[in-house]
Subunit: 406 residues, 2 copies
């Protein structure tokens, strides 16, 4: 796990980023200089991505927001035993996992809602790769409606990928991250594929203002390595291929599809946003924590709200049944024993139930446990990206919350 | 006036900007290369600024939108005689003034609503300098509440401006654009003050990614020329000084103040947005046309909605009484004889009434005629910026609309 700094000098409220009219020069956070992704600026930036980058909004529709009923419960006295055996009180566990917000819905009621760092009820936090799970739901909905064939080879839908790793991959293999590919992820080499990729998606500033390479230019160059369908391998290009597939099959951008299929129906309080890349394609998205858990609640209830089916129940069932645990095990995630991956969701298989989890870099989690009528949403801004670094604290927290409520 | 191109090759629907997943390279519009502000890309860009630049949203609040009642009237058979004597049919007048949308509210009911180009009911168009009039209302509200002294010298509120043109200017002189200043507006010289200014405000891409000059760095360098209070002079720095004043006096950014004072109370259908500059300050804003006229309707009704006072009636009265017509005349606007300027609103003084007008580059207009219970909102994307170039067609259109409804 991350060793927390001894002091709270990373707290954005204390550091005063972007405060004042104008803020002092050394308190300015800008996209151009990449300071927005430096530490500890990151603790502010992840809650203000739309003020740093171009976005397109996910419209909530014209209706009123559906209030979340309140039934507060106390968790402050809980003790957390981390995966490596350390005892932490509730407050320390929240702080040491760099929490920006935590919201627990039980039977559709808010039993816990607290914000830290730059978090607040009306602040939209980037959900990073938790967005993959949103796109997974869109893709599975298209499959259910017969607009997308899960067994089709990718080039049938995206001919541009005929000479890439995806030439003989199926849509379902992309959804399940079972693609064998070469992908050079050396973050220390600015010319490595991962950086070219981040620049093309607009998630990293270009080397020069005139650089111009779209994701659609980079993806066809991804080369195959090994065989598809033999091991879970969590690789960024897959979600961009999936987004491309969903746009082509749904004949609309992800923003519009997510708004029309989901956001206009869940009583959302706020519009969401998608970060727009220079080619007009979406990368990750941002939402308020309350709206994030509203989406989780839709998954928990099998896709229905007040007897109105928003997402087909079969789609939710397919996700919750999970994927192949043996293929998942090959990826070697020590904190996730017995888990699987299905349609862009991480699936936790327990003795008596399955839980669906959306996970994003720096501490974004949406945890759905239908058996226990439980949805937990968490935003964070940890200094390091990998979600696994926070599992040590957060997975035991999930279980403490679950125990208290069941 | 602009000579319209003979063909409709500038119609963004026909040119296919940013269409397809992905769009072809030559149909991509990007902020970085300034193609977004080239012609005819501009016809698409002004309706998609938030997808090109960082923004902060003007929240509409959690409530339902207040539907605008419909009472359609026919205008298509109207003939327009332009200021230079040309006869145009209604459709040609709309097209030759590069209209993206036109909405007429009479007694609070929609009598005309049409969209063209990249316009649509749910599309947020940048309102350019029409935003100045919004900020004017915020400033006058603060003055009314005693939080801002109209007669105070600017450096009392913004000490940073003590050595600038604003050292001996009053807040009201800034509001009324009566500031004598040197401001080198040579658009052909990239080092001229106007370009430094546009780069600092984030409205123009920086020369390099590492360039870093805030508006608050540029404004103190604006030098005085002549005397204040002697002539109307419409200069960009004034609105940025005013924004700075409103932020300091209101102790919140413009986004929050506009949301809390106005947008949460007018039954808006959509959030608006402010373009955020690299120092966290707002420049211009964008809204849907329906929400734009909802704001106009608030001005028309003296700041009240259904007997609830949203903006003080005295603020609206002060604006509508207008400014000094003699001082205005010195600026030499040929299309605006007898007009004045008050608190960031252009005031049309007619024999029997005053009308308040918000105007923005490339054809944005919000026209409020309380005497005739009329509000007209217009979005446009004309090739050239000056509003006066469209007056030739649009002022006679206003009068045709007024005549038909009264």
């Amino acid at each position: 796990m991350n060793k927390p700094p001894k002091s709270k000098v990373h707290d954005p409220r204390k550091l005063g980023w972007m405060k004042g009219f104008p803020p002092p020069h050394d308190k300015v956070i800008r996209f151009a200089e990449k300071s927005f992704y430096a530490w500890p600026q990151l603790r502010w930036s992840l809650s203000h991505i739309d003020e740093l980058m171009p976005t397109k909004r996910v419209w909530r529709g014209p209706g009123p927001c559906r209030e979340l009923p309140q039934r507060p419960r106390v968790f402050d006295d809980a003790m957390i035993v981390t995966l490596n055996g350390t005892e932490l009180c509730w407050g320390d566990a929240l702080e040491q996992s760099y929490t920006d917000g935590l919201l627990v819905l039980h039977r559709g009621e808010v039993v816990y809602e607290e914000y830290f760092g730059a978090g607040a009820p009306d602040v939209r936090h980037i959900i990073q790769s938790a967005n993959k799970s949103f796109v997974g739901i869109l893709a599975e909905s298209l499959i259910y409606e017969g607009k997308l064939d899960a067994d089709a080879l990718v080039p049938v839908i995206i001919p541009e990928l005929i000479d890439s790793a995806y030439s003989d991959a199926t849509v379902q293999q992309v959804l399940d991250m079972l693609i064998g590919m070469e992908f050079y992820e050396d973050y220390l080499d600015p010319e490595s594929e991962i950086w070219r990729f981040h620049r093309a998606t607009g998630m990293s500033p270009p080397s020069s203002m005139n650089q111009f390479e779209l994701v659609a230019d980079v993806l066809p160059k991804v080369k195959k390595a090994g065989r598809h369908g033999e091991a879970f391998a969590y690789r960024e290009p897959n979600i961009f291929v999936l987004g491309w597939i969903v746009r082509r099959a749904g004949m609309q951008d992800l923003t519009t599809q997510l708004s029309e299929r989901v956001w206009q129906h869940i009583g959302a309080e706020h519009d969401g946003y998608y970060i727009m890349d220079p080619g007009g394609a979406e990368s990750s998205s941002g939402f308020t924590l309350r709206d994030f858990v509203r989406f989780g609640e839709l998954v928990r209830t099998g896709g229905a709200i007040e007897s109105k089916q928003i997402i087909p129940a079969a789609v939710i069932d397919k996700v919750l049944r999970g994927g192949d645990q043996d293929l998942f095990a090959k990826a070697g995630y020590k904190t996730l024993p017995g888990w699987s991956y299905k349609s862009q969701w991480w699936i936790r298989h327990l003795a008596d139930r399955n839980c669906a989890v959306a996970r994003g870099a720096h501490g974004q989690v949406l945890y759905v446990d239908p058996e226990n009528e439980l949805v937990i949403g968490r935003f964070g801004s940890a200094p390091k990206a990998p979600s696994t670094l926070l599992d040590d604290i957060f997975l035991p927290m999930l279980d403490v919350i679950t125990d208290r409520l069941s």
